[in-house]
Subunit: 390 residues, 2 copies
């Protein structure tokens, strides 16, 4: 069991009647706000109007950065940083899903640098300790960006998609109204749900130290919640209970409550980021394709007990089987969840991806070295896993 | 499901090698520290020396308030507040279990008032928004005071024991080294474990809204962890795993991660505080005596499903029974945990308590009204529950 620090000062307002507190949270930092949002769905579902009205009646001046991409680009973040510098913005307000919040974090960090270029921070692996404050209004349960230290930024010129981290990137406040995710399409709901699931699985003990039961119990609780409520959210998009469970699971998965004492891994995330970077596919879908193959690839006598436990605790697989056999059943259950329950297509081929860039992608995923985790993955391991996904 | 706010800025350093960060946390607030501790066990187990050395080598001036009682008295807190005023103390350092941290919080709040009297705040039910900063070094997994907004203060003159709450009472930082609880006697370990368990059970949904699965799952995870690891900590006091699981469970139980969407209850705590106030018994022991009787008293067709679910999820009781029968089995399992597994005596009589003050205690427990929860309890209900405990 490793030593750890838990510190998450983000103030989360959760529920139907909380958005009225938005002005008081913004006014802690000033009166000039940069609103960051995506393709305009918040204009269709009324959230934009609600936010604009609240800001106006509170004497807050609103600037806008619209059109954030599903895999947010550094060029978009840089546009936002330029607005911040020009207009002396006090606080960034992200209204959207993980992409929008990630972009807002990129803006917040870049605005504090001389160059205003977020890619400079990303490519130099800077740990961000200075940024404009970010407040988030969440519309999609998925990335956990509403409570975490990370932003993932894409560079369309170089086919790179890389995480930017830093204590200053934790939002100051987050508003989570499950109703704001009612209008989310089924496909996005499924992809978001699997993103949450994988955030936990990527950090599950697998080949490590299984003695911090309190954390394992919490991890399994989040995965069970996703497995139970994602299908309901897909069948009945306006189920408040289903949306609330997914939204709170999203925040819990990455606010470090689940990290205590474990080795922080990110094998599937590292491999998937290359798929999104090269082919601009939806992150959660890429994860769903990669994850069961990764589990198969790393399965051996050292990882089997944890994979089997996952199957028992999360998918209700029977106890008492031979451990590798049990682990195989667990992997089947993960596959079934991805490709039947969530209805995501199971292969890269179906997304029009072939092996053309696998070698380069594998090198990138390993950042010139290897991916640590329950099994250390070299570029040739990663390439083999990509091939299993074809 | 109710709306809620989650906000807990406490920075927790967890593990063996973390105490070295103590000076940097204290120096955020100044160089004059009031060390608050209890009966001197920290001098026997070396923690006092460690802390004193760290402070001295960092140029921190240390004042002392020693001898905090197991049920901390307002008079002791007032002594601390007087030191703070006289010496211009910058930050309070609590080294001990919940009683010591609670007392430190009382000191921190009283030091900011004109009178310096914590009982004035307690008796006026003031929600504390201004207090000196508190940093905690935890030596006992129990009360959750290391991460929560509460302090429970006793008045020996009036036989009162009342909670003082406030956002300013959340510690700024907490140091949780499981090794610091190795020297805890078996009885204190058992009492602490049941305090944690009851913090969760008092807020379990019981007769309320069971649709926030994510929170229920977390609640059950904490209770399972206590049920699993308390016996190990009692058998093998230097088991790092057992102590770590109990310590992190203690913090999780009351840092509001488990509160989301639920109705915050405190029926058993309200009833037990009167036992401690009148008879100075150990809080967790009083809770263990009261809790199974309370469950029996509130058992009916509305509460049975939740009590049965508790039995299934936490104690592994078989599914599919008739629901009231299942709930009865669950209550038996709670009793068995209290009186067999934890080895606590089962009746008030064994602690030398008779019914002499029951009427007054019941009135006090209801604060002149009633106790809300799955069943509203009037003074006559409370008196009946006390009688079941004889």
């Amino acid at each position: 069991m490793n030593d750890f620090v838990f510190h998450n000062p983000d103030k989360v307002y959760f529920g139907r009647g909380q958005i009225e507190h938005l002005p008081e949270e913004l006014l802690k930092y000033g009166r000039k706000v940069l609103l960051v949002y995506g393709g305009g769905s918040i204009k269709q579902n009324g959230i934009y109007d609600t936010v604009a009205r609240l800001l106006q009646t509170s004497g807050i001046e609103m600037f806008e950065l619209a059109g954030v991409e599903p895999n947010p680009r550094y060029t978009t973040a840089n546009k936002g940083a330029a607005i911040c510098k020009q207009e002396n913005i006090d606080v960034i307000l992200a209204v959207g899903g993980g992409s929008v919040i990630d972009c807002a974090k990129g803006v917040a960090a870049a605005a504090m640098t001389a160059s205003g270029d977020v890619w400079e921070l990303v490519s130099n692996r800077v740990w961000v300790t200075e940024a404009l404050p970010v407040v988030a209004v969440l519309t999609n349960a998925a990335t956990g960006s509403e409570m975490d230290t990370w932003a993932v930024i894409s560079n369309q010129d170089t086919n790179e998609k890389i995480g930017l981290g830093g204590s200053a990137l934790i939002p100051k406040a987050a508003f989570e109204n499950p109703e704001y995710s009612f209008s989310l399409p089924t496909y996005q709901t499924a992809c978001g749900a699997f993103d949450i699931f994988n955030h936990v699985l990527d950090n599950y003990y697998l080949a490590g130290d299984a003695t911090f039961d309190m954390v394992l119990e919490f991890q399994e609780a989040v995965m069970r919640t996703v497995v139970k409520w994602a299908p309901m959210a897909m069948r009945q998009p306006d189920s408040y209970e289903a949306r609330a469970n997914l939204m709170w699971a999203s925040s819990m998965a990455l606010n470090t409550v689940l990290d205590g004492g474990t080795v922080h891994g990110c094998a599937c995330h590292a491999m998937e980021h290359e798929l999104s970077a090269y082919y601009d596919i939806t992150h959660g879908h890429g994860l769903a394709i990669v994850t069961p193959r990764w589990l198969k690839y790393i399965l051996d006598s050292t990882t089997a007990p944890a994979i089997y436990r996952l199957g028992v605790k999360v998918f209700g697989i029977e106890e008492g089987l031979e451990v590798v056999k049990g682990a195989e059943k667990a992997i089947d259950a993960v596959s079934d969840f991805c490709f039947n329950t969530l209805g995501l297509t199971a292969t890269l081929s179906e997304l029009g991806i072939d092996d053309k860039h696998f070698k380069d992608m594998a090198e990138h995923a390993c950042f010139g070295g290897s991916i640590s985790g329950p099994k250390t993955l070299t570029p040739s391991d990663v390439e083999a896993i990509y091939r299993m996904c074809l």
